[in-house]
């Protein structure tokens, strides 16, 4: 059963994202704040850090494709960006010490990068006309706060599940 636990978690997170997306945008004092759940991306980066990058990229490609087809109808955007983020995470993690705090920070930095690249893409195809400063305050900041809360709460759970799976794989090899 534990063999399939990683894709299963990824699937659940994939379905949970739009459910949490229903609560956004938040309205406070007449200003709107967009919160974009990025649970799946954060989980994939955790998989890259603690498991291996190849699996993470494969999951990223698969769920990115689903995301593209189901939600945004632009095929190739998420299915490219998810594996790319995992690739970058894989290269960085080779040269740093692996612990929970480093993994969390790395994940948050990459999530912010991911958001920013999406912003660049959508302003490039003129789907949005949001100026950079508004993007930073009304989208990036609330998104990062919400996602870091999520990660602080569940980061250790991700880690322990992935490590459990890793140990099991090592055992089955031996």
């Amino acid at each position: 059963m534990i063999r399939y636990i990683l894709p299963l978690i990824a699937l659940v997170l994939f379905f949970l994202e739009p459910v949490f997306g229903l609560f956004s945008p938040l309205q406070l004092d007449g200003d709107y704040y967009y919160i974009v759940p990025r649970f799946l991306l954060m989980f994939l980066i955790f998989v890259t850090v603690y498991y291996d990058a190849k699996h993470a990229m494969f999951y990223g490609l698969f769920f990115g494709l689903l995301y593209d087809v189901f939600f945004i109808d632009i095929i190739g955007l998420y299915s490219f960006l998810y594996p790319m983020m995992c690739l970058i995470a894989g290269y960085i993690v080779k040269s740093v010490h692996r612990n929970l705090i480093v993994a969390t920070l790395l994940t948050l930095v990459l999530t912010a990068l991911f958001e920013f690249m999406l912003y660049l893409f959508f302003s490039f195809i003129s789907m949005t006309s949001m100026p950079v400063n508004i993007f930073l305050t009304s989208r990036l900041l609330p998104t990062m706060i919400a996602n870091s809360l999520f990660l602080v709460m569940l980061g250790w759970a991700f880690k322990s599940v992935i490590v459990a799976r890793l140990i099991e794989r090592e055992n089955s090899k031996a």
Partner: protein, 295 residues
């Protein structure tokens, strides 16, 4: 780093980028129908998504109930005040309706642009990245949903169906930035209906733009804007919003009005798809088909 840019990987990367650009440009085209593999993916993911959105709506429903319970006293006071007014209006509406029916019978007019069959539907997902204003509904072609149908809540119009598969449909909200998104609308409240097009959305003001109104016509702030039904797809009389400001458009030829949407786009749950009873024309709800014939 040098290993990363070895020949084989570089070629793979280049191929990947080319494939990516090709796919993106393919899918960015104005597409009316979805390809078969996309349909399958959409329906499967949609079915899975319904499993998750059901409990979520249940939980938000509880919160809503608690919230309205807390406001009950204040609301009750307010409603009591309105109740007397309501009885009078109700009597008038019944009277006018029966008169209208009688008159229609005399004239022999059967179908009306106003008539539509509502298809009740639930929002199963909202595009979580929120760059494009889209929601996904749990009704599709098998329930009679067709492309470009109007979608609304009890408060007013929220968008139109932009893609439809067998069991799901994608709704593009009227708060979109898509320049090709138009809804033919009219302003009521004056002696006659004033016609214009809802075209564009001001993201900072969070208001719709009603364009192409004759410059001769006097409008007032606070007048209601409804769909006109002349675009060929939407039924007539769906509430869109209320005028908040009137200016002259960028060319100085026609008037432009800012319209505050009546519906709230933030927490969408149950919506209605309006299937018009009068035959529908092809194309979007912007009279484009008629324009083409004319030119």
């Amino acid at each position: 780093m040098s290993r990363f840019f070895s020949n084989k990987r570089l070629i793979l990367l280049m191929l990947g980028v080319i494939l990516l650009v090709a796919l993106i440009s393919y899918s960015l085209r104005d597409r009316d129908n979805v390809s078969f593999p996309e349909q399958i993916i959409k329906d499967t993911v949609g079915a899975g998504q319904s499993l998750f959105s059901g409990p979520a709506h249940f939980v938000t429903g509880i919160f809503d109930n608690v919230d309205s319970l807390l406001n009950t006293y204040k609301e009750n006071q307010h409603l009591k005040g309105r109740l007397e007014e309501f009885a009078a209006v109700q009597a008038e509406v019944t009277d006018l309706r029966s008169e209208n029916d009688q008159l229609k019978e005399i004239v022999g007019k059967e179908a009306d642009l106003r008539d539509y069959n509502p298809i009740q539907s639930t929002v199963i997902a909202r595009n979580p990245d929120q760059w494009e204003e889209k929601v996904i509904l749990n009704k599709g072609e098998s329930d009679g949903v067709e492309l470009n149908m109007a979608v609304m809540t009890a408060q007013g119009l929220i968008g139109k169906v932009s893609l439809v598969t067998d069991f799901t449909s994608t709704v593009e909200l009227i708060s979109t930035q898509n320049p090709n998104y138009r809804v033919s609308a009219m302003v009521i409240g004056g002696e006659e209906g004033v016609f214009g097009l809802i075209e564009g959305y001001d993201a900072e003001r969070r208001e719709l733009l009603l364009k192409r109104i004759d410059a001769e016509i006097e409008l007032e702030v606070g007048q209601q804007v409804v769909s006109s039904g002349l675009g060929g797809i939407f039924p007539k009389g769906l509430i869109i919003g209320e005028i908040t400001e009137i200016t002259i458009d960028e060319f100085g030829l026609t008037k432009l009005a800012y319209v505050k949407p009546a519906a709230d786009f933030t927490l969408l749950n149950h919506v209605m798809i309006a299937d018009r009873e009068m035959p529908e024309t092809d194309g979007e709800d912007n009279g484009a088909a008629a324009e083409e014939e004319g030119s």
